[in-house]
Amino acid sequence: AVGTPKPLPSSGPKSLREMPHPLATSSSEEMGPALTPSPELLLPRSIADKDLSLPNGTPVDTSSPASSSSLLNRLQLDDDLDGETRDLFVTVDDPKKHVCTMETYITYRVTTKTTRAEFDLPEYSVRRRYQDFDWLRNKLEESQPTHLIPPLPEKFVVKGVVDRFSEEFVETRRKALDKFLKRITDHPVLSFNEHFNVFLTAKDLNAYKKQGMALLSKMGESVKYVTGGYKLRSRPLEFAAIGEYLDTFSLKLGTIDRIAQRIIKEQLEYLVELREYGPIYSTWGGLEVELSEPLEGVSACVGNCCTALEELSEDMTEDFLPVLREYILYSESMKNVLKKRDQVQAEYEAKLEAVALKKEDRPKVPTDVEKCQDRVECFNADLKADMERWQNNKRQDFRQLLMGMADKNIQYYEKCLTAWESIIPLLQDKPETK
């Protein structure tokens, strides 16, 4: 069932009256006939219909986005997503290696299932590579600067140290990319983003990328051109608190990352010694007659413990560390958004002060100052909502992560316990022949 059109409170696309037709501005020389995209695939239906409204059907709203009605709508949005009325599901899987003359790279299958009106079809399956995800993230940052954009796994890997095509690396990356898209899917604003839609649906993403004129949001356009250099008078307490929290949070995560790495290192060194230790019992068993079986048993047991330990270290490296690092990246990008917010507020304060100094008798505040005020309030509202959401998700993510860590350790000890318990009867066995 198609959901009721949900209002985009703050950062919908620009008014379509103001936007030139995307295809009109791109030079036709760049795109050969084979690459000419059909409007239906690339553009939301509403543009093709020349409908002067936002892609999801609501009329363009230029009034203050922080109005109580839109806030209320946003809250309803959250409730819906938390409940069972999810209408968008995205998965990343099936990594494949592509070998071309110029380069070798991996693509992932991105599958979408949805009942949203913004999508032409209920199901999509496309292939994307890392640089496509990177492009999407940049576009989201550009077009939704008042929101917290989830992080991507690290872009660059030191060649020679990490094998970019190893199963473990690819799987770790796949999980992170899947998480990235799911976080966007869960976001009431970001999930309706134009570029996100295209990312999920377009057969040829490169052609879309080449379009010079991206669909910038009103906010995006304005925030993009906010110059720095304005000094902030006073940061609202809650944003100062968020800033301080993020500072300490990323510090602690960094410490935990170092500890986890150190533990893995110590475990691997322990493993090296164990690998020498076990076989000595076997050598000894070769010297003995009656003790031969018990000693062999101990040797095999130590071997089993080695295997279990190896599995534990691998799990921690593949599942635990990457998630920590994601959150550190997340904090970094969030701090940047906070800085931008500060700049927007600073600009507004400066302009307001300039007006006040003129002391002219004006009936109302000039429109550009009013726009600044809009921006500030909008930014604050978006950021606050996103922070709450982020805190909640963070709690769930870490709960799951740390419980997973505990689980892996429990499994390791259980495997070792089984191994040692199983040789007790062997050790106690009295030989029949005497």
Partner: protein, 402 residues
């Protein structure tokens, strides 16, 4: 089962004490003295507890006792003493002889030594051993008076025999190989075990850092705070648990060390056999050559080249009287030699018989003891795994409440 001393007497090394005194060169030294307590075992005596006798001995006196036993009972696999200096240490244990942990483990080792001797069917009957346990003063003089040091075989002599012996009993040769390989494999095992312990210690201790950082993190969290804080406490518990675990494992290492040193005692018995066998072979060889000489002199023929024969040929023969005298001396010597050879043969056979009996006894003891040691090691590992599961389960519960 013979009635050995261990059944009649309770023996313990109950205390260790630091002492200072003057050594043989009148220099001040610090050493540790050990209290040996003995008490007669009363069978079925209600309420009547026999008195405890006690005396102090230091490590060097134990060494003296053992050396005496080695020389006096060369056919016995003599129980070894605990190590003189701390060996196969991992980083936490100090190699210092005065370290209380080392002293404590040595105390246990010395008690074990006394119990081993006291339960040996042959050794337990030795008077010197009995006096060691019961007679405080004058024991050293008593031991020295036995003159056992004179009976000791020189190292050089033994080495010589090992290389030159032609026909040792094959079982002893095999046993010697076995004890060499046993020594090699147990020392390798102990060395690597020490490294394993070191690394395991590191793994556990680093987890302690989680305790601190979780605590610091919990300070900035609202809902997650309590879960993080209490989980951090469990990480501290985990990190602390390794100390007891490794302390227990030292007992296992000590059990292995005992058999490492026992291998040396086995080798000593094999060496003694080789020495006796070599002695026998030399005596037989000597007898043969004397007989030959005698024959040559009697018949006048020279079967083998000898310098004497040549010189007598060059410088003239001996007089018949001289020859007669020589023959007589040789015949006496031959007779002596034959008697000696007979007794040496007998000695050798007795030695082989009694030594092998003790070796069989030792083998059974070794198999039993090492099996017990492996079982207790497995039990220790099981306990460590269970503790690990407990701690992480507790931590998981705390995380679930985040």
């Amino acid at each position: 089962m013979e009635d050995c001393l261990a059944k009649k007497m309770e023996i313990t090394v109950s205390e260790a004490e630091k002492r200072t005194g003057r050594n043989a060169m009148n220099m001040q030294e610090t050493y540790t003295a050990y209290l040996i307590e003995t008490r007669a075992v009363e069978s079925q005596n209600e309420g009547q507890c026999s008195p405890v006798d006690s005396l102090w001995r230091r490590y060097s006196e134990f060494e003296l006792l053992r050396n005496y036993l080695l020389v006096t009972y060369p056919h016995i696999v003599v129980p070894p003493l605990p190590e003189k200096r701390a060996d196969f240490v991992w980083h936490k244990l100090s190699a210092d002889n005065m370290d209380p942990d080392f002293v404590e483990r040595r105390r246990i080792g010395l008690e074990n030594f006394l119990l081993r001797v006291a339960s040996h069917p042959v050794l337990c009957q030795d008077k010197i051993f009995y006096s060691f346990l019961t007679q405080e003063g004058g024991w050293k003089e008593m031991v020295n008076e036995t003159g056992f040091q004179l009976k000791a075989d020189s190292r050089l002599k033994a080495l010589n025999a090992t290389f030159r012996v032609k026909n040792p009993d094959k079982r002893f040769t095999e046993l010697k190989h076995y004890s060499d390989e046993l020594q090699s494999v147990i020392s390798h095992l102990l060395r690597v075990r020490a490294r394993v312990a070191d690394r395991l210690y590191g793994v556990y201790k680093v987890h302690g850092n989680y305790g601190r950082v979780f605590s610091e993190w919990s300070a900035i969290e609202k809902e997650m705070g309590d879960g993080l804080q209490s989980a951090g406490h469990h990480m501290d518990v985990y990190a602390a648990s390794i100390d007891d675990i490794l302390e227990e494992e030292e007992h296992y290492a000590d059990q292995l060390k005992e058999y490492l040193f026992y291998a040396e005692a086995l080798r000593a018995v094999c060496r003694k056999h080789e020495l006796m066998q070599y002695d026998l072979e030399m005596a037989a060889q000597d007898l043969t050559s004397k007989k030959q000489q005698c024959e040559e002199l009697a018949t006048g023929t020279m079967r083998t080249f000898s310098l004497k024969g040549m010189t007598s040929k060059l410088f003239g023969q001996e007089t018949p009287e001289q020859r007669e005298a020589k023959i007589k001396i040789l015949e006496e010597q031959i007779q002596e030699g034959e008697e000696q050879l007979k007794s040496k043969n007998l000695e050798g056979r007795d030695f082989v018989k009694s030594a092998w009996a003790d070796i069989e006894r030792f083998k059974e003891q070794k198999n039993h003891d090492l099996k017990e040691a492996l079982i207790s090691y497995a039990v220790m590992q099981i306990s460590m795994c269970k503790k690990g599961i407990q701690v992480w389960t507790n931590a998981k519960e705390c995380f679930s409440k985040m």
